[in-house]
Amino acid sequence: MPQTIDEIPPTPINTVDSKTVKTGGWRAFRPVCHYEKCIRCWTCWKFCPDVSISLGEEGPIYDYDHCKGCGICANECPVKCIEMVPENK
């Protein structure tokens, strides 16, 4: 990150990967997977707009630093093994 105006390039070029930006704070509901019911069809992974689901051994692994809690995974899951839990609980 540049500290002074002289360090800013004349043409702004974005170079830092946005993984450093934490968007998990936007979340009101947290998706929680019940792995015993999961059939590992990866529908949740396929439809995640925040690229916050990775393929785990037992099922989806959530990246809670970036998941915004939209609930698409819970809605699309064919066996309904993903639960949206309020963040304040």
Partner: protein, 304 residues
């Protein structure tokens, strides 16, 4: 472990600025999965102009060029010309613009690109209004929709003109490939992008991308609503290759009213307007079916 139906390689990073349940984000994710690393994007002012993040961050792992609103078509032509001049012919050039930047503001430059038949792919992700600037109506906003510039209130001045048929406009340019896709069917979307990139000339794709913020609905319903849009004929999946039509999906018809009333932007719609819209959409679908059968017939008869 079930087999993945779409490529695993991820060229879009998390941490982007898209809203919850954003359809446009999914569109970009699938397009990049299909196009691969050797891709240059050109993005005008649209949701995707802000979504990569605040400088110096970017969520895209491919080079991208920000262009003014009306110049996506011209900029991709320019990128292709520069690549040709430097002898790099294995790079995909993709213009990625919203519906406002395509159907209204960018149509002139896009028409020029199609006219020159430059070897580029132009993608319009359609969220049916200028969502980035705060939900103003665009040429692609359907009849009856509420937006901030077509407010309902007591006057009922909701959107009065029909959705602009961009696919027909582009097909009329006689470019080699025109297709529609939906974020609800990523396999179909990825297949179409990959197919388009193998064809030489200007290609156009219309991707249906729900916007929970602007459509006033639950973000978790993005994919469900995109599927429903298809089954109630509000959007059709088809491709036009070399002038012949092919409908990719013919789902059983569901109620248009149900689709509309799931979205807050259509809550006010009177019964007669819904019926009128349903007749319109059915007619458009019948026309597509006719064009498809005509194309099939033509394919059977060899040119005399």
């Amino acid at each position: 472990m079930a087999k993945l139906t779409i490529p695993e390689d991820e060229l879009m990073s998390p941490g982007h600025m898209g809203c919850l349940g954003c359809g446009a984000t999914l569109a970009m994710r699938y397009v990049l999965k299909a196009a691969g690393r050797r891709t240059i994007l050109s993005i005008p002012a649209c949701c995707w102009a802000v979504m990569p993040g605040v400088w110096p961050n970017t969520c895209l792992q491919v080079p991208e060029l920000y262009t003014p609103f009306e110049t996506t078509g011209a900029s991709i032509s320019g990128i292709r010309a520069a690549l040709d001049a430097t002898g790099q012919n294995d790079v995909n050039v993709i213009g990625f613009a919203g519906d406002g930047g395509t159907a209204d503001i960018g149509i002139q430059a896009l028409s020029g690109t199609a006219d020159r038949n430059d070897d580029v792919l132009y993608i319009m992700y359609d969220n049916e209004a200028y969502m980035n600037t705060g939900i103003q109506r665009s040429g692609s906003t359907p009849i009856g929709a509420w937006t901030t510039t077509t407010p309902v209130g007591t006057t009922g001045s909701w959107e009065k003109s029909p959705k602009k048929n961009m696919v027909a406009i582009m097909a009329a340019h006689r470019i080699p490939y025109v297709a529609t896709a939906s974020v609800a069917y990523p396999e179909d979307l990825i297949r179409k992008v990959q197919k388009a990139l193998t064809i030489k000339g200007t290609k156009f794709m219309h991707i249906f991308a729900p916007c929970p913020t602007g459509w006033k609905m639950d973000p978790g319903l993005s994919i469900k609503i995109a599927k429903e849009a298809l089954s109630c004929r509000a959007f059709n999946l088809f491709e036009i290759e070399g002038g012949s039509y092919k409908i990719n999906m013919k789902p059983k018809k569901t109620s248009l009213k149900e689709y509309l009333f799931k979205q807050g932007r259509f809550k006010h719609m009177p019964e007669d307007l819904i019926n009128e819209l349903e007749t319109d959409l059915d007619r458009a679908y019948d026309e597509l079916l006719r064009l498809e059968s005509l194309s099939l017939e033509r394919a059977k008869v060899p040119d005399a």
